[in-house]
C-alpha cells in the first residue's frame, strides 16, 4: 500500500450542488491537454435550429435565474436531444438548449446553458484541480435531480428513487455513517447551520441526530484534532440572516446562488484541513458536485451496473422504465491530499483504459478503506471504483502546497 494510504486516517467529502464538469472546469483543457474539457467547438442547436457553441461567459449569478431543468425527463432530453426512448436511440448531448428553452426563457437566454467559466474566474476550484487530482470521468449516479443523487453518496443506492420525493431506506442497507459507527468507527454529516440544515432528513436527521454536526463544529474538529474518520459536508443551501444582524450567503453554487461564495466555502474547508499539519498529512478531501444542474457537458454518460432497482415509466416521466443502468451527467470531482502529485488527472471515458466514478464510489471507498469486508450493500457499490488511488508514496513538501487567504 502506498504511504499516502498507510498514513490516511480521515476522509472528508464536500458535496456541492448542480454544476457540470464542463461548466466549471471545461476551460482548463486549453492549458492542460490531459483534462477532458472543452475545445470550444462543442455546440447544441437552439429551438430555431441555430447552432450555438460553448462560450466562456458564465456569470457568478443572475444568468440562470430560471433554475435549469435537471429532473429525469429534462435530463433525458438533454442527453438524447429529444429522441423518445426506444431501441437503438443514441445519446448525443444535443438537447441542453432545447430543454432550457422549455422553461419559458427567450431564445437568447436559453443559450446561457452552454456557458462555462474561464479558469481565472474560479481560482479556488482551478487551483485544486490543477494542484491535486482531477477525475475526468466522475458522473452523477442518476440522470436526475439532487435528492436521489445524494442518496447514492450516503447509501450507495437511491432505493429505486429517481426524483426529489421522500424515500425510505430498505433493509439490509445502512448508510455509510451507521456502518462506520456500528463497527466502532467515527463518522459525521456536517450541515452548514440550522437555518440551512440537511437534505438527509427523514432517514438520518430524524432517527440518528447523533451523527450530525454543524460546519462550525467541523472547523473546530479540524482545529482540535477531533475530526471523525469519515466526514460529509453539506454547503449552505439558502441566504439567511446571521447572528448580530449579519448575513449568511448560500454557498452551494446551486443556480442562482452566487458561485463565488461556493469558492469561499471550498477554500475554507481546504484551509481547515491544510492549516493543521498533522491533519493535513493524514486526510484526503474529495470536492464533488451532486449533479450537473441542467448545464451542458459534452461527455456522454456511460452505461453502468444496475443497483438492482427499477423505476417504473410513471416515475421516470419519460414513458419508459429506468433500470439504473446508465449514469447521469458528468460533474467536477477533485481529490486533495499532500500525497497526490501536482497535476494528476485520472482519465475517464476519453481513454480506453480510463476509469468511471460515480457517487456510489463514496460509500464504496469509505467502507472498503475503514471496514474492509462488508457485505450488506448493493453489487453496484461493491464493484465501484476506489477514488483513493491517486494517493502515492511521496509526501509533498509543505512549501509546495497552497493555502488560501479567505
Amino acid at each position: 500500500m502506498p504511504a499516502g494510504l498507510d498514513n490516511l486516517k480521515h476522509i472528508v467529502v464536500l458535496m456541492m450542488e448542480n454544476r457540470s464538469f464542463d461548466h466549471m472546469l471545461g476551460g482548463l483543457k486549453k492549458d492542460y491537454s490531459k483534462i477532458n474539457g472543452l475545445t470550444g467547438n462543442e455546440s447544441n442547436p437552439d429551438v430555431n435550429g441555430t447552432i450555438v457553441p460553448v462560450q466562456a461567459n458564465a456569470k457568478f449569478q443572475g444568468q440562470l435565474d430560471h433554475d435549469p431543468d435537471h429532473h429525469f425527463p429534462g435530463v433525458d432530453l438533454q442527453i438524447f436531444g429529444g429522441t423518445a426512448p426506444g431501441p437503438g436511440r443514441v445519446a448525443n448531448m444535443q438537447g441542453f438548449i432545447k430543454s432550457y428553452a422549455t422553461q419559458g426563457s427567450d431564445i437568447n437566454a436559453s443559450h446561457a446553458i452552454m456557458s462555462y467559466f474561464a479558469p481565472k474566474s474560479l481560482p479556488v476550484l482551478t487551483k485544486l484541480a490543477t494542484e491535486y487530482a482531477l477525475f475526468n470521468g466522475w458522473f452523477s449516479s442518476i440522470p436526475g435531480p439532487t435528492i436521489c443523487n445524494r442518496a447514492f453518496a450516503h447509501y450507495g443506492t437511491s432505493f429505486g428513487n429517481v426524483d426529489m420525493n421522500l424515500f425510505y431506506i430498505q433493509d439490509p442497507i445502512l448508510s455509510i455513517y451507521e456502518r462506520m459507527v456500528k463497527a466502532g468507527h467515527t463518522a459525521k454529516i456536517y450541515y452548514y447551520d440550522q437555518q440551512s440544515s440537511t437534505m438527509e432528513i427523514v432517514n438520518l436527521l430524524k432517527n440518528q441526530p447523533q451523527i450530525f454536526g454543524s460546519y462550525s463544529q467541523f472547523v473546530a474538529d479540524c482545529k482540535g484534532n477531533t475530526l471523525p474518520e469519515y466526514s460529509f459536508i453539506e454547503p449552505c443551501y439558502n441566504d439567511h440572516p446571521g447572528p448580530g444582524g449579519g448575513q449568511i450567503l448560500a454557498s452551494d453554487q446551486h443556480p442562482d446562488h452566487n458561485v463565488q461564495e461556493g469558492e469561499v466555502l471550498i477554500a475554507n474547508t481546504y484551509n481547515a484541513i491544510r492549516t493543521n499539519q498533522a491533519l493535513w498529512e493524514t486526510t484526503a478531501l474529495l470536492v464533488v458536485y451532486d449533479e450537473h444542474g441542467g448545464l451542458y457537458d459534452h461527455v456522454v454518460p456511460p452505461a453502468c451496473q444496475s443497483d438492482g432497482y427499477s423505476a417504473s415509466a410513471d416515475k421516470t416521466g419519460t414513458g419508459a422504465p429506468f433500470n439504473f443502468d446508465r449514469l447521469g451527467i458528468r460533474v467536477p470531482a477533485i481529490l486533495v491530499s499532500p500525497y497526490i502529485p501536482r497535476g494528476t488527472v485520472v482519465p475517464g471515458t476519453e481513454d480506453s483504459s480510463g476509469l468511471i466514478f460515480e457517487h456510489a464510489c463514496i460509500p464504496g471507498t469509505v467502507t472498503n478503506f475503514f471496514l474492509k469486508n462488508y457485505d450488506q450493500r448493493t453489487v453496484r457499490e461493491k464493484n465501484s471504483r476506489n477514488f483513493l488511488t491517486p494517493l502515492t508514496d511521496t509526501l509533498r513538501h509543505d512549501d509546495d502546497c497552497w493555502v488560501f487567504d479567505v
Partner: protein
C-alpha cells in the same frame, strides 16, 4: 491575516470576496428547498402531539421563510447544532451598532 499566513506558508492565494449585493433572502425558493421543506413537514407530521398544529408550509415562499422553518425543525431534532456561524457580510447598520457598543464599553471601562 494575510501577512501572518505569508510568514507561515510559502504559497498563499487570495480568494475574492463575494459581493454584498449577492445576498437576497427574499429570493423565491428553488425546487430543492421546496422539497427539503416537504420532507421536514413529513417529519413534523410524525412528531405532532394531540392539539398541536402542523406548520402551513404553503406559506413558505422565500429563502428567509424557509430558513426560519428549517431552523425551527432542525433545532427540534438536533439542538446541538446551534452554534456560531461565520458571517460573510455585516450590513452597514449592524457594523455601526457594533462599533457604538464597543465605544460604550470602552467609555465604561475608562470611567471605572
Amino acid at each position: 491575516m494575510r501577512e501572518k499566513m505569508k510568514k507561515k506558508y510559502k504559497l498563499v492565494m487570495k480568494v475574492p470576496k463575494t459581493p454584498k449585493r449577492a445576498y437576497n433572502h427574499n429570493r423565491f425558493i428553488s425546487s430543492l428547498i421546496e422539497h427539503q421543506i416537504k420532507h421536514f413537514s413529513e417529519v413534523e407530521k410524525s412528531l405532532l402531539k394531540p392539539g398541536q398544529k402542523l406548520t402551513d408550509i404553503s406559506k413558505i415562499k422565500t429563502e428567509l421563510h424557509a430558513s426560519k422553518y428549517l431552523k425551527k425543525m432542525t433545532a427540534r431534532l438536533h439542538p446541538q447544532g446551534a452554534g456560531k456561524t461565520k458571517m460573510v457580510a455585516q450590513p452597514s447598520n449592524a457594523k455601526k451598532a457594533a462599533k457604538r457598543k464597543t465605544k460604550r464599553k470602552l467609555v465604561k471601562r475608562k470611567s471605572r
